[in-house]
Amino acid sequence: MNIKLPQLRPGQRGIVQEIQGEGLTRRRMLDLGMVPGTLVEVVRRSPLGDPVAYQIRGAVIALRKDEASYINVTTC
């Protein structure tokens, strides 16, 4: 199933399909390791639900919802 990254719940995993957006926003996602094929797992949500901590290629990285919305994943 193809969904946006923020739709994953804590404990769920997805595989990055594509990064939308362009320019520096896109570049930032790529620099964080969000390249197609990458396995992403939701570690936890902050108390207010935003940002969310993700496990990406061996590091835990917090992304705001608006940033994570650029990333399409398939659930697995």
Binding site: L24, R27, R28, D31, G33, R57, A59
Partner: protein, 243 residues
């Protein structure tokens, strides 16, 4: 850093003590390595983004004084954040004699993005693969010789918290500085149309700014449309022209 700082920084002369920058992703042990090198006890912690402004220390190796600068941890040097800007400006403008990129052996792949970026800015790079003890625990083996061959820069495996590899690193730094080791970074080759555009821009950048800055790196930022970065470099050229 504004234009007035640039002139000051460019005037550091070569008989002063060599400056070694420690760069790397967040939480890879840069500050731990800084302490191991200098004997200072800068506070280290197990969360990212702790080293915000760089701290300086010193050590003596084989009669030579070295200055070490601990940079904030970053995933990139595109300057999305203050941390990235501090690290990037230091490497670009202060021009340390050697930049040691401290990488986490347990997730080397993600660390290599920054290594490749730094290699585009400067050839004076050493890769310190830290947390080798953690990697061993996770049954990850690292072929440092092969890594060194493929990257074209010296690779030193380390366990900074235990002090393992520190003297090897000091020795490698000394050898890079006196040119017994000359790193030849194997740079990323981009698509032909990007390489063509770089070939057009590079000579113009060198004409405008001299060879103090990596023209290839700056070309790539221009092609990316990252005008904030480009603006940072313009005052330097205007100052030079005015002199």
């Amino acid at each position: 850093m504004d234009g007035s700082d640039l002139t000051l920084l460019n005037h550091r002369n070569s008989n002063e003590e060599p400056v070694i920058a420690l760069a790397g992703n967040p939480n890879t042990g840069k500050s731990t390595l800084f302490n191991a090198l200098t004997g200072l006890h800068q506070h280290t912690g197990n969360w990212p983004g702790k080293t915000v402004l760089h701290s300086r220390g010193h050590y003596v190796y084989q009669g030579i004084n070295y200055t070490v600068v601990d940079l904030p941890g970053t995933y990139s040097l595109i300057a999305n954040s203050i941390d990235e800007e501090v690290a990037r400006d230091f490497i670009c403008f202060q021009k340390p004699e050697v930049t040691v990129v401290v990488a986490d052996a347990t997730c080397l792949e993600r660390n290599l993005n920054l290594v490749l970026q730094i290699m585009e800015i400067t050839s004076q790079v050493i890769l310190a693969v830290n947390l080798m003890d953690e990697a061993r625990r996770k049954k990850i083996t690292i072929d440092d010789k092969e890594l060194q061959r493929r990257l074209g820069v010296p690779v030193v495996p380390m366990e900074a918290r235990q002090g393992v590899g520190v003297s090897e690193l000091k020795d490698t730094i000394a050898q890079v500085i006196d040119r017994r080791i000359v790193p030849h970074p194997r740079l990323v080759r981009y698509e032909p149309d990007i390489e063509d555009a770089i070939a057009l821009l590079e000579p113009q950048i060198i004409r405008a700014l001299g060879d103090g800055i990596s023209a290839r790196w700056l070309s790539l930022r221009i092609l990316e449309g990252n005008l904030d970065i480009v603006k940072n470099f313009l005052p330097a050229s205007l100052i030079k022209e005015a002199v």
